[in-house]
Symmetry: C2
Subunit: 665 residues, 2 copies
């Protein structure tokens, strides 16, 4: 799955990406598949891409704004945990504006309303917004950012309000700065969410899915040991404690998993770890006796909603008690923690906003997690191989008419047969021809294309297994590819291989390696407008939020070196708008490599691939490959064949396809 | 010349690097050569590497500190222009401490004195510092930085003083922050330099070398046109004016050159450019009637020392006159401008510290400058070829005993015969065997090694010509290289070639390209601890200060993309302490390249080499080269031969050497 400049959060185009808040007793149910038949949960508000009448909602909101003496009210897209995917109950920006894209901010004044979103969503926003709304096309010249627009509206001492639990401390500070510059009076944190007041009883309830244990055989480390390491970190940083707000970090830290947010096996919670105590804020009804016994005496359980009051009291207590010491002591929070958390702790004097030490630790997988990654990728590879063989047979031998969603559904059905399968890790990108050029394309039943065997077919998909998370892209052709398609595919493949094969001294960052994947495309004047690699969790979140590492030209990727145990994607691509798209994605793991020399006595690192799916023979122009690259491909294809063939006993269709696709050059 | 983490400023080890302040009427004299026979100008203070008795100087300094009510006084290494090389009159830190290394800061309290320097100079500092001084070995664990040491000494409300003209505004702010944290009272700018008071009449006078015109045939752009572009930039940034403090920026802007600082053809000056006026602060005695006529009515000349008073008055006048406007208007200064300049302008409210727009413009060479670069590299290449042929003949055929300085002198003598030669661009690194592993090695007559024909010989040198600046490194072997020497040389060469051959879309930075040069070394567990490329001026400064661009892992190189017209070095290396060192350096220029495709309608860029000196056949292991690399080398060597052969008519020794070294593989 590709890392763009923007977060990929589900859009209304793809209803399947929203979790439905229905309690489920079967944790290992495929928590995405059953959404296919689920009707849109926003039936009361919007049908697909239709304009939403927001007059009444805005009128009510403005009433509540007046009650709070606000002139302007900000409605961000985020939930209280800055999650990449959100639950329906947190889709406040969509409810108030009618715009259902994944990215955007609504700003409502007493007279006006504006909705800011980026280039991916200009068309959709124009369709969905009614005349109450002004669309701020972010990124276009002479269009103000929503912060600038807010600042302009605040001139003359206006008061701006926002729910401090859905904006980060640093975003709030930056906004306040803009407002002040324009002569605005104040950015006021309003604890009561005013959109929720308007939404009232129609608002979906917060998911209450049961929490499950991630057993030691998959986690590889007891949570008590994770606590110990975190506490050493707290001691090193002279910190009073760490208030954890990111849901995947809490799930990882406690070796627990949930089902509250689609594709991400997390549960709504906060956690506070101090040198002597650990508190988990989660609603008791989600916890089975087994989970409680797993946590034992080491963890205090408190209701989800009580976190703010609790940490306020804790901060007052600890900073008063320790106030006599000369070293200033503070709490750690993630830079992505909400303004509300910051405030509850007592603000800047009591809070150090840092890159989360849990995020850093989580990105370095232990041997058990790495083994789980290897294992689940064998099963996942077998599923993709079976699917591709089936698809070719359907399209070519049987001349079947299949649309992109049919393909995605079949792939999911195949995956779900495999051991330890839990669900998809994101919406399957099943795309034919020009749709493959839409990097975050999501097919929708009734509104998607029939797969054309004479065009390129791009499939980017992944699953959550109890022992790991997968994310694989393959681009195929079932007919005769054009010359440019073959050239582009081969250049992308060369980059994919070059990145996997590079060796580098410890201390090197993903920023420094990005060019390895692009060099062959660049040489021909080609490129792709997305990152090259993102982290992936162990049965957890993938994409932008997994770990501080990544491969690409974002400056943040120059901050943290790649470390042994990191798991990261290797996914160069090439896209021609309106024509075709190519992407090849493997997951690769950082390991120490043997080198002839060892300058500076530093370990030298390299990558090990875990993805096991053949590359498309029809799309490879072997005249562009070096002898070394051919040898590498042959070795890879032999490995794919040997490790997956056992799944196809008695399935000669798949086995024949696999044999053909993995024969040596 | 290599870009290390530290600036390379001349050390006392190498007396030749200091300019002698003697007026010269012949501008085109070789302003470095005659230093060889010049006695140390600090004869009164220190002989080579001997301990200096500073008791009396410190006692006097403390007297002056008390007069100014200072408890602590900081003596940085820098001059008022943050120049990379300094004139003798600015070597205050050396005078007060006795330590003559290029990098270091002295901090003197009423009781103690400390000298902070980095790993390159620990031995030298230990020898040169007397018992009055504590050595702060920067970079070692548990050793405070000089700022931390100062802060500790300032506890209890002490006052710290510094000459604000030799510290940047941002360095002063950071120091003040540290002091305040430790309970220090104040960082006091003391305009009178207290070391100068101690130094008294023994202090060398400020150089007063004549300023010369850089004619249009070499500059390629009239200064009036440069003014116009700068003024457009001022308008865009809504700035009142730009106060220019970097000497190379002033020389470039006015198409003038000087002779005040060794190796850098600059002159002591400041400049102020406003939308309507241009003032050059330089002592009148340096300006000939020709120069005054060149500047004409467009430029007001004012004495060097009057800049602070003038800009204070200017700032008061302009900000009062324009005070009625709503847009806050400020002056621009470089982030490397002194605290004194900042203060004179009125501090943070009146000053925007920015990456210098002149630095940005200067880094993009025009066609005339690029042509000059090409032309001077042909002559410079011929000089190096003649030198290497001579050296081999001397060492092998004639079995001559030559030391490293003999070699450097001969090379300079050969260079000086060539058209438009002005002087060296830095101290020649002429190093044999283990000395080649010392990245900034500088041989000193009487204390350097005899060149061993059985060892590697590394020569990093360059010259200033009126039409351009050169900087070339070649590593040679006159006998039988070892296997590791050949392997390392070939891997370095492969990196050098890969970087030159890379193509990249407009917008790519030097940070992203660094790995191209290291990848082959990394694959074998090898690396080098310096940057890969630095900018170079046109008959101006090279190394860290030339332009905002560079190739390497410094974060600053991720800020500014490479642009057509940039000239930059390509110099990977490999060093084995105590054994040998390898570096291969070409100057390369950024140009637009033709590519088969043009994704995103962006120009694709690549490099053109200008350095023309053969690579060492004996050190190349051709089994490590691809067919493409061999073809590339053959083409390069043919070009070197064709472009330089005309210089060797009647010089069969050189011509034979050149033919042998450039024959095809």
């Amino acid at each position: 799955m590709v890392l763009l400049r923007f977060f990929a959060r589900p859009s209304r185009n793809c209803l399947r990406t929203y979790a439905v808040a229905s309690p489920s007793t079967i944790f290992l149910s495929t928590f995405t598949r059953h959404f296919h038949s689920t009707p849109p949960f926003f039936q009361d508000t919007a049908t697909e891409m239709e304009t939403v009448n927001t007059t009444e909602r805005l009128s009510q909101l403005r009433g509540f704004m007046k009650d709070h003496k606000l002139d302007i009210y900000i409605v961000p897209s985020e939930d209280s945990h800055q999650s990449e995917y959100i639950a329906p109950c947190d889709a406040r920006r969509e409810y108030i504006s009618g715009f259902s894209g994944s990215a955007g901010t609504a700003v409502v004044t007493l007279e006006k309303a504006s909705l800011a979103t980026d280039g991916r969503y200009f068309n959709q926003a124009e369709k969905q917004l009614d005349t109450n709304w002004e669309l701020l096309k972010q990124g276009l010249q002479d269009v103000p950012t929503w912060q600038e627009w807010t600042a302009e509206q605040s001139e003359g001492g206006k008061t701006v309000g926002v729910d401090p639990s859905v904006i980060t401390g640093s975003d709030a500070r930056k906004l306040l700065e803009k407002i002040k510059k324009k002569g605005g009076a104040e950015l006021k944190p309003v604890k009561e969410n005013l959109v929720d007041l308007v939404w009232g009883k129609a608002k979906p309830s917060r998911p209450m899915e049961p929490v499950k244990i991630q057993p030691f055989e998959y986690s590889g480390k007891k949570f008590e040991d994770k606590f110990e390491e975190l506490r050493k970190e707290l001691e090193k940083r002279k910190s009073l404690g760490f208030v954890v707000s990111m849901l995947d970090e809490i799930a990882w830290l406690y070796n627990l998993r949930g089902n509250d947010i689609p594709y991400n096996p997390v549960f709504f919670s906060y956690a506070v770890i101090t040198p002597t105590a650990a508190t988990l804020y989660v609603d008791d009804s989600k916890l089975s006796p087994e989970v409680k016994s797993h946590l034992g005496d080491a963890v205090t359980i408190r209701p989800y909603d009580s976190v703010f009051g609790d940490i306020e009291a804790l901060s007052t207590e600890l900073t008063q008690t320790k106030g006599v010491e000369t070293t200033p002591k503070k709490f750690l929070v993630s830079t992505r923690a909400s303004w509300a958390l910051n405030q509850s702790l007592g603000g800047a004097d009591k809070v150090d906003e840092v890159r989360s030490p849990i995020g850093d630790a989580k990105a370095v997988k232990n041997e058990v997690e790495l083994e789980g990654m290897r294992a689940c990728h064998v099963r996942d590879g077998a599923a993709l191989i079976e699917y591709f063989a089936w698809l070719e047979d359907q399209l070519i031998t049987k001349s079947a008419k299949l649309d992109e969603v049919d393909g995605a559904d079949k792939l999911e059905a195949i995956r779900s047969k495999h051991d330890r399968f839990v669900g998809l890790s994101f919406d399957t990108i099943s795309s034919t021809g020009p749709n493959a050029a839409v990097i975050h394309y999501k097919p929708m039943k009734g509104n998607c294309s029939v797969i054309d065997p004479k065009e390129v077919y791009l499939c980017d998909s992944g699953a959550q297994y109890q022992d790991g998370t997968t994310d694989t892209t393959r681009t195929l052709h079932f007919g005769e590819p054009t010359e440019i398609e073959r050239t582009a595919y081969t250049l992308v493949l060369k980059g994919n291989i070059a990145l996997e094969r590079v060796r580098f001294p410890k201390g090197t960052t993903g920023f420094a390696l990005d060019t390895m994947a692009r060099q062959f495309l660049w040489a021909e004047g080609l490129d792709y407008r997305h990152g090259t690699g993102h982290g992936v969790g162990s049965f957890l979140v993938l994409n932008v939020h997994e770990g501080p590492i990544g491969i690409g030209t974002r400056l943040q990727f120059s901050e943290v070196p790649l470390s042994i145990g990191n798991v990261i994607s290797d996914e160069p691509g090439y896209y021609e708008d309106g024509k075709f798209g190519i992407r090849i994605e493997n997951m690769i793991m950082v390991k120490e490599v043997e080198t002839k020399f060892k300058f500076g006595d530093k370990p030298y690192l390299g990558f090990e691939h875990v993805t096991l799916v053949p590359h498309c023979r029809k799309l490879i122009d072997t005249s562009l490959l070096t002898a070394e690259e051919k040898a590498f491909l042959n070795e890879y294809h032999t490995e794919v064949f040997e490790k997956t063939k056992e799944f196809f006993k008695g399935d000669s269709l798949t086995l024949d396809w696999l044999k053909r696709e993995t024969q040596p050059y």
